[in-house]
């Protein structure tokens, strides 16, 4: 651990980023999905909530009965499937970003404080981390949603309050290795405040590590959102969520498997994109980290 990622290497790191196929493919795919989510109202051919019971369960374009107006068909209430998929990206990404914002802030703060101060503070925070790790996420989320009622806000809050453990563990370890560096001692000799040392001096040294954890956690959150929505405890109908779409298509799985295959593939692609990007980032920043 001679040196952490120093931005002195930034130009080179950028070039290495661009040469890494994982970063390129994952990043490109993720950017595409983000753009689709952002411009959903412009891209979606129909209102994702508009029902038309006369046009129920129309198949997508590669099947015989398909209608050109509904490229990917319609669901059991006659809602345009393509539009619902496009709007569903908003939920997935929005929940992902929201949860990471909450969990990242909690985890990074706890980890920094524990790693930097050590001693009994570290002991207390480590205990909290261990306690959190012993909670089964889905069960706790189910219980919380059952108490608070299913809604997007509840979902983001509950997941945000649960998923900070990895951030905390990683930043704690990084802070432990940084706190005895001489520049921290020098800053204390300069009379720099603790908050300044933690967030303005130590934190920027961990950006690569945190970025990797972040990408892994985003994928995790997106899958959890889908799982909870599938169980009817996440996003409430009629809001289009990929997990909810899979759940709604369940009844017709035998005759219209595309009802599940389409949102399933979308979910798969998004998680793949995030994971590829995270893996790529780890590969690019990894050797410099060691």
């Amino acid at each position: 651990m001679a040196e952490r990622t120093s931005p002195a290497r930034r130009p080179r790191a950028l070039r290495r980023l661009c040469r890494n196929s994982g970063v390129l493919i994952g990043g490109g795919l993720l950017a595409l999905i983000v753009l689709i989510a952002l411009f959903a109202p412009l891209l979606a051919p129909h209102d994702p909530l508009a029902q038309d019971l006369t046009r129920r369960l129309l198949p997508p374009f590669w099947q015989e009965r398909s209608v050109p107006e509904h490229l990917l068909g319609t669901d059991h209430l006659g809602r345009d499937y393509l539009s619902r998929l496009i709007y569903g990206a908003r939920v997935s990404l929005g929940v992902g970003a929201g949860v990471i914002l909450v969990s990242g802030s909690i985890g990074i703060t706890l980890g920094l404080v524990a790693g930097y101060f050590g001693g009994w503070i570290d002991m207390v925070i480590s205990f909290i981390i261990t306690a959190r790790l012993s909670l089964p996420i889905v069960l706790v989320a189910l219980a919380a949603v059952a108490l608070g009622g299913a809604s997007l806000t509840t979902l983001v809050t509950v997941l945000g309050l649960l998923l900070w453990d990895r951030f905390a563990v990683v930043t704690r370890a990084a802070a432990q290795s940084l706190r005895h560096r001489e520049f921290i001692l020098g800053l204390r000799a300069l009379g720099a405040g603790k908050a300044r040392i933690l967030f303005l001096e130590i934190l920027p040294n961990m950006q690569a590590t945190i970025l990797v954890v972040l990408s892994l956690e985003v994928a995790n959150v997106i899958l959890l959102e889908a799982a909870l929505s599938f169980l009817g405890l996440g996003v409430r109908p009629p809001t289009p969520s990929w997990g909810l779409m899979i759940s709604e298509g369940r009844d017709n799985i035998l005759f219209d498997p595309w009802l599940i295959a389409l949102p399933g593939s979308a979910l798969c692609l998004l998680v793949l994109a995030v994971n590829l990007l995270g893996d790529g980032l780890r590969d690019v920043t990894g050797p410099v980290q060691r």
């Binding site: 001679a2 120093s6 002195a8 020098g186 000799a189 009379g191 720099a192 920027p204 040294n205």
Partner: protein
């Protein structure tokens, strides 16, 4: 010493309590014990000793980063613990051993040097930074670089510029050259000599490189397991070391003639053990001239001609 000394440590002690696990037995580690030092204005004191002898703890105490368990620390006649942080920072600044670790790698050189000014409300920051960089011989074009792009010597210059930008009266150098190449060491030492003359700095120079200390220091204090075992003017110490530990330290410096082989140390095989029983003289387990009384009776610091020594045999 007629004037008020710039730095005065009187009977300073610091004990760490080490504990194995939450309820494990605790052990006491005496990092610094009854250390008294005085450094006059404009003087350079060399602080010498092996690893673990308490040098770094002494440095942290002088910088106000660590509160001593006992004893008084005065800087320019004021008690350090009563001094406002602001005044302390403007009075005393450190330069650390490893320039790779002493600079935050994600900050540009300019903002690193400007940081003390920003923290303590300096004005004309740009001009002050440029002045400090010129003072330590850093080309202005490096202001926008990151520490990773600089050589070890340049980084140490940045660390120096950063320490000097607030114009402190005292510089505490904790082995500022030990991480550098020999040729670069010479440059940094010459720079320090020049700056000391120019700015009238008072310096405490911690090192285990005796050649460097001989070159820089006016007086030398030798520490062993947290205690000062000898103090003398540099000339006297290097000409006629009194304490057997100082003698061994000097003998351990490699002779310039390779034909003479490695020096004979006569220190025995034991390493310094801070947890060892403290009946008598701390150095007794390794002392080549030990006598039975040394093992039972602690040695006191005695005044001798040019300084002080903690050994009954030394004349």
């Amino acid at each position: 010493m007629t004037a008020v000394p710039m730095i005065r440590l009187a009977g300073v002690s610091k004990t760490y309590r080490l504990r194995r696990g939450l309820f494990g037995p605790s052990q006491e580690l005496r990092a610094v014990h009854d250390l008294s030092l005085e450094v006059a204005r404009g003087e350079t004191l060399g602080l010498v000793g092996e690893s673990g002898c308490g040098k770094s703890t002494a440095v942290s105490i002088m910088l106000g980063l660590l509160a001593p368990d006992a004893g008084r620390v005065e800087i320019a006649g004021q008690a350090l613990d009563a001094m406002a942080e602001r005044d302390r920072v403007r009075l005393i600044q450190p330069v650390f051993q490893n320039p790779n670790a002493a600079l935050n790698p994600v900050k540009r050189i300019r903002s690193l040097i400007a940081q003390p000014l920003k923290l303590h409300g300096g004005s004309e920051i740009d001009r002050e930074v440029a002045r400090a960089m010129e003072m330590v011989g850093l080309p202005a074009r490096l202001a926008q670089a990151y520490p990773g792009e600089l050589s070890g010597g340049q980084r140490q210059r940045v660390a120096l510029a950063r320490a000097l930008v607030l114009k402190p009266a005292v510089l505490i150098c904790d082995e500022p050259t030990s991480a550098l190449d020999v040729s670069v060491q010479a440059q940094i030492i010459n720079l320090l000599l020049g700056l000391r003359r120019e700015l009238g700095l008072t310096m405490v120079f911690v090192s285990h490189n005796l050649a460097v200390v001989e070159h820089l220091a006016d007086r030398v204090a030798v520490m062993y397991l947290g205690e000062k075992v000898e103090e003398a003017t540099t000339d006297a110490l290097f000409r006629a070391p009194r304490h057997p530990y100082t003698q061994a330290l000097l003998a351990a410096t490699l002779p310039p003639d390779p034909g003479r082989g490695l020096p004979e140390l006569r220190l025995g095989k034991a390493a310094a053990d801070p947890f060892a029983l403290r009946g008598g003289c701390l150095f007794a387990p390794r002392c080549p001239v030990v006598e039975p009384i040394c093992r039972s009776q602690p040695q006191d610091l005695r005044r001798v001609a040019e300084g002080a020594v903690r050994c009954q045999r030394a004349g």
